[in-house]
């Protein structure tokens, strides 16, 4: 893979001219480098009045900056943090944020503008050429370094005493393992946690909105309801982790519209309960279209058909939404008839 075998003639010729060489277009080479163009004066270089104007401009900018900083402090002190004002065309906004931002921005911008204007109009604008030197060291330096290194290596005898070298490499290679070990307690082992949710036989389906258990008669055709397992409250310590798996989406279909046999079996009078957690990467999917019975994920547009076992009909999800088997208890409330039969949420290696 070395490029030593590249013939020289394939590479373009180096530019011949040396630094600063000025060559006049001649018969030989009309494309020759004419050298740096002669310096032209700015107005400020020849007209002292123009230079004064520039000076005043720079000073004005710096002064505006000072005033803006004073304005910043004044706004900070004077404007209450909850004051709202209407600014056309932005709309209603926080007066304090607006005032602080504008004054700070102005104070900073004017310092910059002043400095740049100063540099552009009053500092010398004569272009200077600096020589470059090759990054590579000259051959003798290269030789010297190689020789020094070889001598050092020889004196250490690392090449000769293989036992030392090998045990040292071993020790150095092993020692980071301690650091890796220390990471073990970052979290528990997965176990079967991803396979189970809070749902179990007899758990009532509790309406997210009203915090009341649901009855079949509550759920109308075309409606959309979200439910959580009985006993899970928002103030619970593990609420976030449990709801991340247990959230349910409940819709009612006309039983004759349900194409999937198992879906019909697991429903109650056409009421079906599906996991609200997308099987793609776990967004709470719930964009239910009541006429098509499709449900869309707002994150990555996986689309599931709730009338056909929630199978995937579009998008990146790999498998259907898990369905929860539901029934009605003695008091007429909807209840789960067990946990989900498959893991909810995104797929993982051990899912199978």
């Amino acid at each position: 893979m070395s490029s030593q075998d590249i013939p020289e003639e394939n590479l373009p010729a180096e530019q011949e001219h040396a630094h600063g060489a000025v060559s006049v277009a001649d018969e030989k080479n009309p494309f020759a480098d004419p050298g740096l163009p002669p310096h032209e004066h700015r107005i400020q270089d020849i007209d002292e009045r123009a230079a004064r104007r520039s000076e005043r401009m720079v000073a004005l900018l710096f002064t505006v900056s000072m005033l803006a900083t004073i304005g910043f402090i004044a706004s900070y002190v004077a404007i209450p943090h909850d004051k709202s004002i209407f600014v056309f065309p932005i709309g209603h906004l926080s007066a304090l944020n607006f005032a602080l931002g504008l004054t700070l921005g102005l104070a900073l911008f004017c310092i910059g503008a002043g400095a740049v204007h100063w540099a552009r109009t009053l500092m010398s604008d004569v272009e200077i050429a600096d020589e470059r030197h090759p990054i590579e060291a000259p051959a003798d330096v290269r030789e010297k370094v190689h020789a020094d290194f070889k001598q050092g290596a020889k004196e250490s005898a690392i090449g000769r005493r293989k036992l030392i070298r090998n045990t040292m490499l071993g020790a150095v290679a092993l020692v980071p393992l301690s650091g890796v070990m220390l990471l073990r307690d970052l979290g528990p082992l997965p176990g079967t946690k991803l396979r189970h949710t809070m749902w179990s036989k007899g758990k009532l389906l509790v309406n997210m909105n009203t915090n009341e258990p649901l009855r079949p008669s509550d759920v109308a055709v075309g409606s959309l309801t979200f439910a959580k397992p009985e006993g899970l409250e928002e103030h619970d310590e593990n609420f976030q982790t449990e709801i991340a798996k247990a959230a349910l989406m409940i819709v009612r279909l006309q039983p004759e519209n349900i194409k999937d046999k198992r879906e019909l079996e697991w429903s109650h009078e056409g009421i079906v309960a599906y996991s609200k957690i997308c099987t793609h990467v776990g967004c709470p999917i719930s964009l239910y279209e009541q006429q098509t019975h499709h449900v869309l994920c707002p994150c990555h547009q996986s689309t599931f058909d709730l009338s056909d076992g929630a199978r995937v009909i579009f998008g990146p999800a790999g498998h259907a939404l898990p369905q929860l088997r539901i029934g009605v208890n003695d008091e007429g409330y909807l209840e789960a008839l067990g946990d989900f039969e498959e893991p909810v949420g995104p797929a993982f290696w051990e899912r199978g």
Binding site: E40, H41, R42, I43, Q44, D45, I46, D47, S84, I90, G91, H92, L93, S94, N97, F98, G101, V116, R120, T121, D125, N207, M208, N209, T210, L214, S217, D218, V219, A220, G222, S223, L224, T225, F226, V251, P284, I285, S286, L287, Y288, E289, Q290, Q291, T292, H294, L296, P298, Q301, T303, F314
Partner: protein
Amino acid sequence: MKKLSARRRHPLAAVVVLLLALAATGGLYAAFAPAGKAQADEASQSLAIDEGKKLYTVGCASCHGTGGQGTSDGPSLVGVGAAAVDFQVGTGRMPAATSQGAQVPRKKNIYSQAEIDQLAAYIASLGAGPAVPTKEQYGPEGADIAKGGELFRTNCAQCHNFTGKGGALTKGKYAPSLEGVDPKHIYEAMQTGPQNMPSFPDTTMSEQNKKDIIAYLNAVNSDETENPGGLELGGLGPVSEGLFAWIFGLGALIAVAVWVAARTAKAKKS
């Protein structure tokens, strides 16, 4: 008191007394005679149904059938209730154009509120359904804005975006923006589930829930809503923020860089 007694003899005194008496009687009657009022209502109701039927025959029957039973061009309206009519016609979605895209858009309403009420009365007479909500139901009094926010994020934001700016559904359908939508219509939409929107009936989303949601929406998505940080950029999240950062942020900085690096004007050679 003196002045009052002096004016008792005024020629117009009798008229004033008469007006006061009439107003009082009317008020008392209104307060104490609900039975009579209901009778009067019933009469006007049947009148409204008749009027509504006329309007229906002209504007709606070609798609929804002469008796609202539905045709291949439009669904049955039996049992959809007055709320559905008030929403569909009030937001201009109905009557729809004959060839529509993926979904019927909101447009200018062509009926007066009185006509809509008549149409609604007629449709409601075809079969029981949700009634048009009253001001007390969707008004802001007694609403819990924060609870409404939580409900909104659970039930609505997935389609309509976190402050109701709207969003995409499958195959060209979309959840419309809720900006500038009459609270009454929002209430009706939740109740009736227009087009592909699911309904949120009172059995699963209580009246109080709906009131809270409307109050929240009014707090975060109205003309008076404050965006403390400045321009809302459509309220769409990172996509519009990213575009703004590229065009106005980096754009402005490149413009400044061009100024910093540009050559200063040279003195004109004379």
